[in-house]
Subunit: 330 residues, 2 copies
Amino acid sequence: MALSAPVVIAGGAAVGGKKEGAGPLRERFDTISEDSYFGQKSWEKAESVMLRQCFQLLCQKTETPANKLDFILSGDLQSQCTGSAFALRDAAVPYLGLYGACSTMGESLALGAMLIDGGAAERVCAMTCSHFCSAERQFRLPLEYGGQRTPTAQWTATAAGAVLLRKGSGCVRITHVTPGKIVDAGITDANNMGAAMAPAAWDTLRAHFKDTGREGSYYDAVITGDLGHFGHDILADLAHEEGMTFPNIFTDCGILLYSAKTQDVHSGGSGCGCSASVFAGHILKCLQEGMWHRVLFAPTGALMSTVTSQQGESIPGICHAIAIEAAEET
Amino acid sequence: MALSAPVVIAGGAAVGGKKEGAGPLRERFDTISEDSYFGQKSWEKAESVMLRQCFQLLCQKTETPANKLDFILSGDLQSQCTGSAFALRDAAVPYLGLYGACSTMGESLALGAMLIDGGAAERVCAMTCSHFCSAERQFRLPLEYGGQRTPTAQWTATAAGAVLLRKGSGCVRITHVTPGKIVDAGITDANNMGAAMAPAAWDTLRAHFKDTGREGSYYDAVITGDLGHFGHDILADLAHEEGMTFPNIFTDCGILLYSAKTQDVHSGGSGCGCSASVFAGHILKCLQEGMWHRVLFAPTGALMSTVTSQQGESIPGICHAIAIEAAEET
């Protein structure tokens, strides 16, 4: 849907861990922590502290005290979304908790833009995070076990991203949002999230192009959330099957965050913090700096848990697309 | 905040389990299942089937096919909110997953109302659920262990509730929403959720009364989410401390759902499905039938997980308030 008036992305903040700081986007992060514990005693607490740092950085950078915010929209991969709740429990801002798995940054941007466009809010913080170690403990195996990873496996980013959305005029603006439907393609391999999410990504991109009458080439970049290398190839196949060109302006946050050659992340990055930090740290700057004028940002999520996988269920995917344009001259 | 135009609650559906069907609200449910497995092989799948039944009932009762919905707003207590995602994976409706713990029905009503009021949607389904057995497995001990419950413990409802929100004219309408802030009063006893959530409930009610210039007596009923008997008493104490009267029109979904005398639920009901089913099954009918004309509905949630409790953290609470009015004559 087209917003009745574009919603401004007034600024962003991105915090990352050591591995994210060793990747090609190092300079795009506001802060890199060499300590994966962020000074805490557990990885879960580390995740919350990282997200709180990111929120505080955003408030500082945009000169927006927390009490000027109408809403914080956040969520994360921790069970019961405690990464966000504990990060923001002292923020004293109305809090709307989201769960969209790794698509959460898309959901928070879409909802925030619609709330502002509709007049329910003037300023909204949209944010999310993930932490490699807390996610491994949550979803997979004890880190100490050192289990072998499959080629299709992705690396959960230790990263947080936050942006400030507001009414009014500004350079970088959300013009359309396309919230996605759940799509379950029957994939049951929890080490192949890209395959599980690619059909949902294609469903949402197709809906966006149909809704707007645009082709992919309208954009300078079309960037999915965290399909990784395998999932990105599947998305290309799905597009080709329906006769759509898939130009090389199509990429993915899971591909951008790490170096495939030197960082041993297999199929690429993942986690809520992957698309959130790549967006708030990198994509937003590309728009602000004039490198890109039109971007379609489409974070993807896998709506499963260890319990559903253990019970033999397939993995439903979801993807929300956000169209963003930067003014040529302001 | 006041909505610019009231949003209609066009209808509701409520599904419950055996214990909910043995309580004082039995006749208010559309369906009661005597089988806690709802014909499935696991409690988690049972929870999803129950929520899907509730969604289908809502579509039937309101004569609204799913493809006429702009959004489904849902969430639940299962880790990674799989209760909702799996219930709705075939719905083919844009899905916005929420996590507000037991306050989720308040969050979905508030967001749905704001999206419709702002023009982003015409029809929204707001829903949530919980299941006693999957919640016990999720948060507490194996059921087979038969652990003794403390007097302050509450009973997670096996129930789902769904309502259809839409633009236009109708009898029962949302007029104001007051999304809440996270409030952490330092309670660490995971068997005393009422005490953890009561300060958040008071914070939101106080904000609502201040925002609207109303007193509690403006309403025919002020109904919190699932504070239970202990939490309700604490809320009364907090109100009295600040000099506010706390008339007996104040009650709680956790008090209403079960019989304190005969059902052995200790401090009362809880779970996302408690306030959702009491709202969709009972409160909505009281408004439709003309018994009440003005209701403030304020679901409460505890934003913790087993991991945060095991790490010694306190329990942050949240509460979202929804003001609903029924036309005297339509």
